[in-house]
């Protein structure tokens, strides 16, 4: 919008004056739909949740009154702090597994995919066209103690009879890693794909070995993408309750399950809201750390 450049000052002034109302309003009008969407579907529910966490609710009628009961936060966190730690640990482990697994995939597609890049990306996504809950339940079926995998191995005496995968933390981490893989692979692919291949040639010209070219050129250039992938995977995995409920046991409860039980099984809206608010705060810390380290601009590029 630099149309007035090189125009005589007098004419420029009149033109700018005429164009001004539209020019000033245009960005706001253009962002209005997104703004309304954010307001109605994000900010309002967020405020309702935060206010609910400070209210006292009647379990029977569902009616809540504002009591500014800050103690709710303290009591919920002291009851369930270990479930928060479990969630951070599981989500973190799943995200790191996803980064390790999807980096070679993204790298290979970006560098060697050639004209079939889109086809390979589609192949990566095809399993995820089936509902997330259904896929997780199928894993429960496949991995059950006497199921088609473990049952067969046990019958062949390759595994002890009491060996089990379900109801362990490993099963939950594996489920999370499986379900959130595309959220890691796609931002990584974008980051690797946009690397200028001539930079790599330059590295070789400067006598870099293949390994040095990878660790000193490619890896640093993909770091913003890795962080984006980390956030996109870690934050949803942190609040996930499906994997834990289907694949996990009772000694590896994640905070998402506690929140879900608070709302649906115990009708404790205030407690559930307080836990959700704490979870949100943890997620925000992650995002702010990202913004501080890499600048908010890179978020826009990858998210």
């Amino acid at each position: 919008m630099t149309s007035s450049e090189g125009v005589a000052p007098a004419a420029g002034v009149t033109r700018r004056r005429r164009a001004r109302p539209g020019k000033v309003l245009a960005p706001y009008l253009l962002s209005l739909p997104a703004g309304l969407w954010l307001l109605a579907l994000f900010l309002v529910p967020l405020v309702v949740m935060l206010s609910l966490s400070l209210q006292t609710c009647n379990f029977g009628t569902g009616a809540c009154v504002m009591t500014w009961h800050w103690g709710e936060f303290w009591s919920q966190v002291s009851l369930y702090h270990s479930q928060f730690l479990t969630s951070i640990y599981f989500a973190g482990a799943a995200t790191i597994i996803d980064l390790i697994v999807s980096f070679p995939i993204a790298y290979w597609i970006a560098f060697y995919g050639g004209s079939k890049k889109n086809f390979f990306l589609l192949m990566l996504l095809v399993p995820f066209f089936v509902s997330f809950v259904i896929r997780t339940i199928v894993w429960e079926f496949i991995l059950s103690d006497q199921g088609i995998v473990l049952g067969t191995l046990k019958n062949a005496h390759l595994l002890p009879q009491n060996f089990h995968i379900l109801a362990t933390g490993y099963a939950v981490v594996a489920g999370l890693a499986y379900n959130y893989l595309p959220f890691t692979a796609l931002p990584l692919y974008v980051a690797i794909e946009r690397i200028d291949k001539t930079v790599l040639d330059a590295a070789y010209d400067l006598y870099a070995s293949k390994r040095e070219a990878f660790t000193r050129v490619i890896l640093p250039l993909t770091i913003p993408g890795m962080f984006a992938a980390f956030l996109l995977t870690f934050i949803p995995a942190l609040g996930d309750y499906v994997n834990q409920q289907i694949l996990g046991g009772t000694n590896n409860t994640m905070i998402g399950t506690v929140i879900q039980n608070a709302f649906l099984t115990n009708l404790d809206y205030a407690g559930g809201s307080a836990l959700s608010a704490v979870l949100l705060a943890i997620a925000l810390v992650g995002i702010f750390a990202y913004a501080r380290l890499l600048g908010s601009r890179t978020i826009e590029e990858y998210l």
Partner: protein, 445 residues
Amino acid sequence: MQDQHNPQPGSNDPALDPSIWRGLTQPRMSRRQMLRAAGAGAGALGVSAFLAACGVKGATVGGGSSPKPGGVGSASWWAKQKLHHTVNFANWPYYIDVLKGKHPSLQHFTDLTGIQVNYTEAISDNLPFYAKIRPSLQAQQYTGYDIIVMTNNSPPLGYLINYGWLTPLDQSAMVNFHKYASPLVANPAWDRGNKYTMAWQSGWTAIGYNSSVVKNPGDSVQILFDPKYSGKVGMMADPQELGSLGLLAIGVEPATSTESDWARAAKKLQTQKSDGIVRAYYDQDYINHLKNGDTVVSQAWSGDIFQADLNHATSDLRLLIPHEGGMSWTDNMCIPAYAQNPKDAMTLMDYYYSPDVQAVVEYYNDYVCPVPLAQQVLLHPTGWAAETLKAMKPSIGLPYSKTANAPTVFPDKQAIALSRPYYQYKSQEELTAWNNLFLPITQGS
């Protein structure tokens, strides 16, 4: 020891094992009683302007007192009601007689009265179901159901009564009930004078064990704390069930316990968990884990164990009601407020108190029968009951006398003496205190 059945041969169509289906589909969760919920909870009623601005809907509710003269549920109101020849009945899954995908007792009802029954298995848990119908009741609208089935020890039944969200029953239409109802369910503590409810079925939360592994179960709840069965003990995830057992284990009557007892019970259960005795805290799936050997002794619901025992050729499951007591609960039929077909609902509810009908239901169900005379029908069936039982026999595969003589279906004096009521929370603070002690045990990390 309550269960004297030998391992049973039978037709055993494995696809038809009702306890498996019930176990898979019917979470017995959240059995809490809060008959006087309105007490301290009433202080929290009402809606602030702030809340209204946030879009959270509150409620204005009336008290659950006796029907006003001429008001809903009064004799003159009932006199004006007419049959609409249709009734919408919401029940728990696998809780009624089944024959070839149909329910003989409901078909018989339609044949007798011309009333079509829309039978849905819509209730899988008390609180979530209550949360679903509550908005309709608050808006003074029909919930879509004329009969619902709520458990006496879970808060929703108390809420429904206290907030005036149940239609008082037509006492004059309860002919069979007044004639045949068992003393266990007539005029019960949770609904004096049966003003709002009629029992559907009852049961115990007791102990199930695998008799091929547990040779000497003894007669105490301490078996669940026995290091001999470390890692093979199943406990219930529901805080009401878990806490009540903890109280029995420390020698306290749950119904008269205090908050300091609860803390001691929680400590005992926490130790049981940290000592590695508990395999897991289960919902409805405990029965499958008991069957496949993951657990050898577990908290259990009486009907499930009985059915697993009856209908499963290789099952070694037995029920133990310990000398400390078995927690006793009752699922109750009631008519939600604003029901469109109350007279049809009354007709159906009273129909289920006919001994012939209960005999058919119980031959399939095996929970505690609210009609003692059904025992005689099972022993000497006649007419419709005889035909129907005969038709059901190939799929159930056992003589009717097995059901008739089971103390878990027609409880004897000993079983009745061992029944214990649940604690009734006197306020929401008490319920929260209870949950904050026992929920963190089951939702461990």
